[in-house]
Point group: C2
């Protein structure tokens, strides 16, 4: 049976295969998404983000288990940075999730930040589409919430959960990384640590700076490791989902995300064209060499390349 049909029937191996294909920008996966796109849009996408060391993986693990108790089908995409020093994805965190890996109602995939940035964002979006067709009820995208690329990825979620912890210098980190504003729901993890109350209070104070119409992001103290308070967080996620529907924000957010997804795809296609067309002429490396020795300049080079594209 072809992969698309197997995917619709809930074949986990077909799902895994198609996500690998979409990661490699393979046309077979794109055709499946094109053909079955009308079956997407049902899964609620939850972004889990926050500073490193905040216990995001453990928290995701516990949230997934709660949803499984209610018989929900769940997908998890963990965006793992890679380093040439370690030679690949740091998957240590994911090991703790291994007991979920054998659950037929859970699909887990780790993705490295290897290679092109637009590529990771596109791959994540593609994986969400495939999990959506596969028929999961909830999709978690878990990523270190520092830097624009990861923020872009997590912003495409329907509900963004910001996970903070006491004592990480989190106030500085959060503001500096400019990620506070994207949280729909806040969690203060490791609530048994000293300073948890202070961190929660600081968050509330920071949230007070902004005006809200229907939804003010709630702050939940919890301990993922001790499995305390995780149900309160899930309640808040569900409440946010309901508020989005009632207020009409859901539709607006989905439209904004669709626009970003399209622009991402267009950008990548155009840049592939740039490489192809300059290769047919003198090549990007030759152009760059001329600029490096100041025989040309970046702006004139840009104009020349745009002229080639337009031809």
């Amino acid at each position: 049976m072809e992969l698309g049909k197997r995917l619709i029937k809930g074949d986990k191996r077909a799902c895994a295969r198609l996500i690998s294909l979409i990661e490699n920008n393979d046309k077979r996966a794109i055709e499946v998404i094109k053909k079955h796109y009308d079956k997407t849009g049902n899964a609620h996408v939850i972004g889990i983000t926050g500073p490193p060391g905040g216990g995001k993986s453990t928290l995701t693990d516990k949230l997934v288990k709660l949803l499984r108790k209610n018989d929900k089908k769940v997908g998890v995409i963990a965006v793992d940075p890679t380093s040439p020093f370690t030679g690949g994805s740091i998957l240590g965190d994911r090991v703790r999730m291994s007991d979920l890996a054998t659950d037929p109602g859970v699909f887990i995939r780790s993705m490295g930040t290897r290679g092109h940035l637009g590529g990771l964002s596109k791959a994540t979006k593609g994986a969400v589409n495939i999990l959506d067709i596969y028929g999961v009820d909830y999709i978690f995208i878990e990523t270190v919430g520092v830097g624009q690329s990861e923020v872009d990825i997590v912003k495409s979620a329907d509900t963004v959960v910001m996970v903070m912890v006491p004592g990480l210098g989190d106030d500085i980190q959060a503001i500096k990384a400019g990620i506070m504003e994207i949280g729909d729901v806040f969690a203060v993890n490791k609530s048994d640590l000293d300073g948890a109350d202070k961190t929660a209070l600081e968050l509330e104070m920071m949230l007070d700076f902004k005006k809200y119409d229907t939804w003010r992001p709630p702050v939940t103290k919890l301990s993922a490791v001790k499995n305390e308070g995780v149900n309160n967080l899930l309640d808040n996620i569900i409440k946010h989902k309901e508020d989005m529907f009632k207020s009409g924000k859901f539709k607006l957010r989905r439209e904004k995300n669709a626009k970003l997804e399209i622009l991402n795809l267009v950008e990548e296609e155009l840049m592939e064209m740039v490489h192809r067309i300059t290769d047919e002429h003198e090549g990007l490396d030759t152009i760059a060499k001329k600029v490096a020795i100041r025989k040309s300049n970046p702006y004139t080079s840009r104009d020349e390349i745009i002229k080639l594209i337009k031809k």
Copy 2:
């Protein structure tokens, strides 16, 4: 006198004005860079990066003062994230640099991460070009080294200084953010803190994982606040610069950076075209709305937009 001529003559106000213009993608600034690009390439560009709270601003301050003692002209570009919660750039760190602001041999500019990502990278590059024409000997680009966007900016430097501190959970942070590999020179700041030796040792061990030909990144322990060891760091920066020249790596890095700069400019120009051309038709918002309600899909939309561009 026109801005370009004033810039070459070392007019600080013309420099400030042109950097503001290039931040806004103004043609007048682009023309100045085009016309005087043969006067660029002389400044040594130093990227200062590392986890938040590492004391990068103080360290930059001290490095600038050391260079001023040797009568070097210096430019500083501080990339400051913005947050809607604070209403603008977090310039607190920069206040400490205020005694340098009145020094005619120092030019300091803060840039926010507001708006489009490619835009910030482009604005930083543009500011480097203008400072280069202005005639500074050294340009510092200081930024929180987390996330791809900031890594991209700092990578365009000739020498990248990674600033670590003990006790920030720095091992996790550095690996997770995948930034270790871009450091040419390492600094362990706050060397008086417990754990400084351990942090330096861990860095050395991590560096041992990689093979080197001519240059193995040195690790310098220092205290920027106490102004201890900063001269050793500057020595290592100068040594790296000399090694780059001797080994021929300088030329290669400049070529690679020129290529990235050109691609960045081309990408932005093309995406402006996409917005302009789709606006002449049904518009991106309408296209996105159709995708959001699953009457179309992102891949078909992409193909349609590319077709419009090619026409």
